[in-house]
Symmetry: C2
Subunit: 525 residues, 2 copies
């Protein structure tokens, strides 16, 4: 079936059609845990002090059109991406060079590196590392070439706290359910069908990743007699907890693995490493059952990724404490660092040799080329020839139009778009350090799409932008020292996510309040 983005999809709804669609979304979502806790601006703490209320997670009414060729390509290259980032995490020396360069503009990166150095000095006791990654893409259509085929361009690669895998399976199922109960009116039928809505096993596939780490730990451990558990290191409060609960429930029901949730801020109070054990097991003492100690096999971080979470020296102590333990980290500090923006920029700088060197031992030049094709050009603002080229663009209103300026620092926000770039650059004066604190990235030009977003009980319709995430699971053994290379033990593509936001909002992030979880409706374009 050939269809195009501008064929009037989705159709307008009568008020009766809209009522039917929305009431089914409201009900099915709660029946199936596609839910969030309301923000305090929606329901005040006074009304619900125990935080018992929930509501439909922000979702789109329709699955968004997405080119099948782009979807297939994003999935096809995920295992190569997993391998790429595992290789980077294994190359401590190279990572160290990058961090050294960044240190002066980014304390956070530099503090993470210090944690790694401290554990390295003492000696790591766990050489297995688990990655639950998500590579995020937008569809790019060259604005001035109407015949150009759509391609995927990477927005970012997440190596820590890759979220929404728990809700994503469910929103795919929601849209299929709405199809099955005839909630999509006939004009949608050339688009929405069983074959255009692909299965999405993100919950089971990501959980299986945690399960294989758990089992690998179990095989390797010394003869302790404690019961085993995995720990989800979480933020508190967490409105998006149902996303995480879906994984924990799957671990229990499909793998018989017990999971506890531990707020990052309470790590030091409830875990310890026995001082007499060279293996350094991480022992968790549940507050509700202080006489039952658990040995932690796997630490799944859904917190600790944002500089704002490190509020005191104790936060860094906690991170060090976890890193030096025998638990398998998802991710390790080195894997966390591999996901920093700076790494993406280095790989995507047009003349960079690094992509090939990280993948050449296992991947063909053709395959490496396909990875490279997903990069939007990214430039440093420094003294290199690429940097000088970038500065010439960033200071020229006409050329800057197709670019975005991003801070090197982790933590999101503060992107400068298009025409706003030259005056911003001017405001930096001649401070080359401030220049180096930013990267310049080619703007991706996604096709114009329409959809409606249901959020906090309201519907907003209009032009939207979709961002496809593909999950990847990778378990590997870190190489230690110069001679020993890392070994990848497991590596698979693990489902996908579509997030959709109103075109007017420049910053993404569903939990941050701008977008919605969505599913793909594949079209052949």
């Amino acid at each position: 079936m050939a269809a195009s983005f501008d064929s009037g999809y989705p159709p307008p709804l009568t008020s009766e059609q809209s009522d039917y669609l929305l009431s089914n979304i409201r009900d099915w979502s709660i029946l199936n845990g596609l839910a969030v806790r309301p923000s305090s601006s929606f329901v005040s703490e006074k009304i619900d002090p125990s935080r018992s209320l929930a509501l439909t997670a922000p979702v789109t009414l329709f699955p968004s059109l997405f080119p099948r060729v782009c979807f297939d390509e994003a999935r096809a290259i995920q295992t190569a991406y997993n391998e790429l980032y595992a290789s980077i995490a294994n190359d401590e020396e190279w990572l160290g060079e990058v961090v050294k360069e960044l240190a002066e503009v980014d304390d956070f990166i530099s503090n993470l590196w210090d944690v790694h150095q401290a554990v390295k000095k003492e000696g790591y006791v766990q050489d297995l590392s688990l990655g639950i990654f998500r590579s995020d893409y937008m569809v790019h259509k060259h604005p001035s070439n109407l015949d150009a085929k759509p391609e995927i361009k990477q927005v970012e690669f997440n190596t820590i706290a890759s979220s929404f895998g728990g809700l994503s399976t469910k929103v795919s199922a929601l849209h299929k359910h709405l199809l099955s109960i005839s909630a999509y009116p006939p004009p949608t039928l050339p688009f929405i069908s069983d074959s255009s809505l692909p299965p999405n096993p993100s919950i089971s596939s990501i959980s299986r990743g945690i399960a294989i780490a758990h089992k690998a730990y179990n095989r390797s451990r010394e003869n302790t007699r404690l019961p085993l558990c995995t720990l989800f290191i979480v933020q508190d409060p967490e409105n998006n907890a149902f996303d995480q609960h879906a994984l924990a429930t799957n671990l229990l029901t499909d793998h018989n693995i017990l999971t506890f949730r531990l707020p990052f801020s309470t790590v030091l109070s409830h875990t310890h490493i026995p001082s007499d054990s060279p293996f350094r097991p991480l022992i968790y003492t549940p507050p509700h059952s202080p006489n039952t100690l658990y040995e932690v096999t796997t630490l799944y971080f859904r917190a600790g990724y944002s500089p704002a979470e490190y509020t005191s020296q104790d936060s860094w102590k906690a991170r060090l404490h976890l890193e030096r333990s025998a638990a398998i980290k998802c991710p390790s500090i080195l894997t966390h660092l591999a996901g920093s923006k700076k790494i993406q920029q280095i790989l995507a700088t047009p003349s960079s040799p690094h992509l090939s060197s990280f993948l050449s031992s296992t991947s063909s030049a053709e395959y490496i080329g396909r990875i490279r094709d997903t990069f939007a050009a990214i430039y440093p603002l420094d003294d290199t020839p690429e940097g000088q080229y970038a500065i010439s663009i960033a200071t020229d209103a006409d050329k800057a139009r197709g670019y975005v300026l991003k801070p090197q620092r982790e933590g999101g926000g503060n992107n400068i778009y298009g025409l706003k770039i030259p005056p911003f650059i001017k405001s930096l004066g001649n401070d080359s350090k401030k220049y180096r604190g930013h990267i310049l990235m080619e703007l991706i030009e996604p096709p114009a799409l329409r959809n409606s977003i249901f959020r906090n009980g309201d519907v907003k319709s209009g032009e939207v932008i979709g961002e496809l995430g593909v999950y990847g699971v990778c378990l590997w053994r870190h190489g230690r020292g110069q001679k020993e290379e890392g070994v990848i033990l497991e590596n698979w593509e693990a489902g996908h996510l579509l997030r959709t936001k109103g075109r007017e909002s420049e910053e993404g992030g569903v939990a941050a309040g701008f977008g919605a979880v969505d599913s793909v409706c594949l079209i052949d374009v």
Copy 2:
């Protein structure tokens, strides 16, 4: 394992234990649709005009202790109960006599009978009838005989809108889940175990009942070419809709049967019976898709049972319209009438021959005796010897202590307990009609139990009373005329429900605001 009711179950919880238990209840319930919409007194319409918020259904923190022998007996006799009520619904002549007697005190019953008479006059076109029943019991322990074994005594038998089958499977699963994540502290372990928490298939088993009716209709229908559906006739708004959604979802996923929800008040607007069809198919026109007509196979009433719902002549027109259609009714008017309190009273009057006569063709005297053992004695307040005996009790403060006076009218409420009975009788004066408007029922004396109820974010702990419901599904062919007897086609026990309320509240009813859904923790006493 022998245990007793007074062994300190459930144990007190530390605040950490309580936090862990409650946070898991709050999260698991939303993840699995064990939910209700909040009442407007909890969340005002202003805050959530689209009614998108939901919260944990009222549940108990622990499964309540329940004697295994009582549980087994209640389940064992359910198919006999199903047959009993199907036989009553088939005996139109006998029902007519009962209604005639009631007519002067109960317009509602009399109006229902008129609907039946009108359809009978025209001729019924559907002779299949579906019952989804629930027989409710309390455990009774003779207060003055400490050695007496606990027995079950029937509170009522529901033939219409037997609710909570959708939540009941889930609360059983919730308590099992809490056990599996060690949320129940060690002192509970002599009680709570995998073997003391029985499986509860109410969702799948009740849905299967609707599915067999749907399929039976399909086999019998003339050659229409319309798509088929089942209709849930519902109240609007309905805070307990998730209970119903669980059944509708199961019908779709396990039986590929499409269900629509239709508020009772809108029946006449959205359904019709083609005037030219002698088969009288009920045609549903969904407001969201007015060009797609559906033929309704099965009408599942979750509304229309309370006099308060019949607000105008149109309500009765709607009920007549549905009854005369070819759709299989769950329940038919005659089945609805069979569930009236008066019938229960007639069966349970100690000298009554009716129980035996309804069951003697298929059941042994021993089996009939087991049914009779579940009756608490019920007396009319009339001129019969039983009636005179009852009046002598009701006017004597000392004897009345062990009784409850209930209005004959349907619709609940206004029960008069124990010591309050004699002054109430006095207030009736000498009006024998007002006397006949009531029945006197032996009070059931349930054992003292403790539990905690989580409701609207609050926990209340204390003495509670449990009420066990056993679901039954029955599909039968009505006998027409004097010679043709009814034939039971399907008959099974369909899961169970435990509802628990604070001992201080005299009226039951979870949705009404006093109680919670619970599950049984079986004990051998």
